[in-house]
Amino acid sequence: MSSRSCIITPGNFRATRRQGASFLSVTILFILLAGCGGVQLTQIQKEMAGIPSRAELKNVPLYPQEADQCGAASLAMVLHWSGIPATPESLVPEVYSPSLKGSLQPAIIGAARRSGRVAYHIYGTEGLLREVGGGHPVIVLLNLGLSWHPKWHYAVVTGYDLSENFVVVHSGKIKPEYFPFRVFENTWARSNRWGLLVLRPADLPVTADEKSYLAAVLGLEKARQWREAVNGYQTALRKWPGSLTALMGLGNSLYALGDLPQAEKAFRDAAHLYPTSGPAFNNLAQVLWKEGRREEALAAAEKAVALGGPLSATFQKTLEEIQSGNP
């Protein structure tokens, strides 16, 4: 009965603890709810223009899972789809928490980044359908049991059919599972509809929001995947030309790679487009200084100091370092 039970997740854990309370009332409640059904697909179709009525992704492998390894199996499937030959076994050391007999969501996110992939959150049914319809498989967290008797499970949504009312799920078995939409909705709703995209940095989510996407690319910097972070920021700049965060992230990642001329260009673009951005001038000064162009570096650092703001102490320090010594 518990061979597929998987994880305890921080996000959902609170809900689990509150449960237990009254078994009887829960029993009565579900009997009352039994007549309500889930979300009606026809209603969703009306509300969401531009979503294909069906989708089935062909290039997502099926990895049957070992006991408790649905997190590793799900991540391996989407990584493989994205071009990385990962296996569930190779990912267990990065995602699994032995004492929980499962994988926490942040571990899945971190492991995706360590493989050089952008981990982007999606929430809600509309986001799920837009992404899968746009060709992106989505890792979902399901609670196959009840809130007071949870059976957490990661799986990968690889398709759906709105007219036939089903969702295609790679769920750790040897064949895809076809969940009736209502069953899928009921089990997914118990994780607050947690979903995760794992994408090549050149591949923008269909539902991408600027700030969320840049935070996801920032995660690649955290994982020291500088080359992939550069790709991610370039992708962001194609979608949101002139984004200050993307230009700064691009410059910082190139700087970390030691590509000073390209880093300089990114910071120059930022400083040109945002002439009141202290960080742009500060980082430009830093790069110019490393390139041995002291006079230009001094001018940029002085500009940053003149602009001031909450980071003025950092700007001052840059200026002093340039004034006092060698790169």
Binding site: M1, I8, P10, G11, F13, R14, R17, Q19, G20, F23, F30, A34, G38, P93, E94, S97, P98, S99, L100, P106, A107, I109, G110, A111, R113, R114, L144, G145, L146, W148, H149, K151, F166, Y178, P180, V183, N186, T187, K211, A215, L218, G219, E221, K222, A223, L244, T245, M248, G249, S253, Y255, G278, P279, N282, N283, L311, T314, F315, K317, T318
Partner: protein, 137 residues
């Protein structure tokens, strides 16, 4: 007694933490990180998140180690998270259970759970048992 000790100890702690923060800032040379720029629109909140993340990273690492993960791997997992993700994780990690499930002990009667889950499976609320047939495909 505790009170007289507490004050100097907490001052010492504050001093240590602040100097650690200073040291960290120094180590990053004088580049402004992307995270700072990303969050610049809401500075106050960002400062709090950064401070929390700074204080929480060792705590979260300890929790991960208690879950049977090696210290190096625990550190690597946390290093891949942004400051706000660490703060979020630390806020929820407090709620993690020390041991076995109290809920399970409370319910106890396995047969009852089985019957309830069987019914909810048939109704389509849950999907626990593979033998409950859901879709004619």
């Amino acid at each position: 007694m505790m009170k007289t000790v507490a004050k100097p100890v907490s001052f010492l702690l504050i001093f240590c933490l602040l100097s650690m923060g200073f040291a960290l800032g120094k180590a990053q040379a004088a580049m402004v990180g992307t995270e700072t720029v990303l969050n610049a629109t809401k500075t106050h909140q960002t400062d709090r998140i950064r401070l929390n993340a700074f204080l929480d990273r060792p705590k979260v690492q300890a929790v991960l180690e208690a879950q049977g993960i090696s210290p190096e791997e625990a550190r690597a997992r946390i290093a891949c998270l942004t400051d706000s993700e660490v703060a979020e994780l630390a806020a929820t990690v407090d709620g993690l259970p020390a041991g076995g499930s109290a809920v399970g002990a409370l319910i106890g009667a396995g047969v009852l759970v089985f019957i309830v889950l069987l019914i909810t499976d048939i109704l389509g609320f849950t999907h626990v048992f593979p033998f409950v047939y859901h879709h004619p495909r």
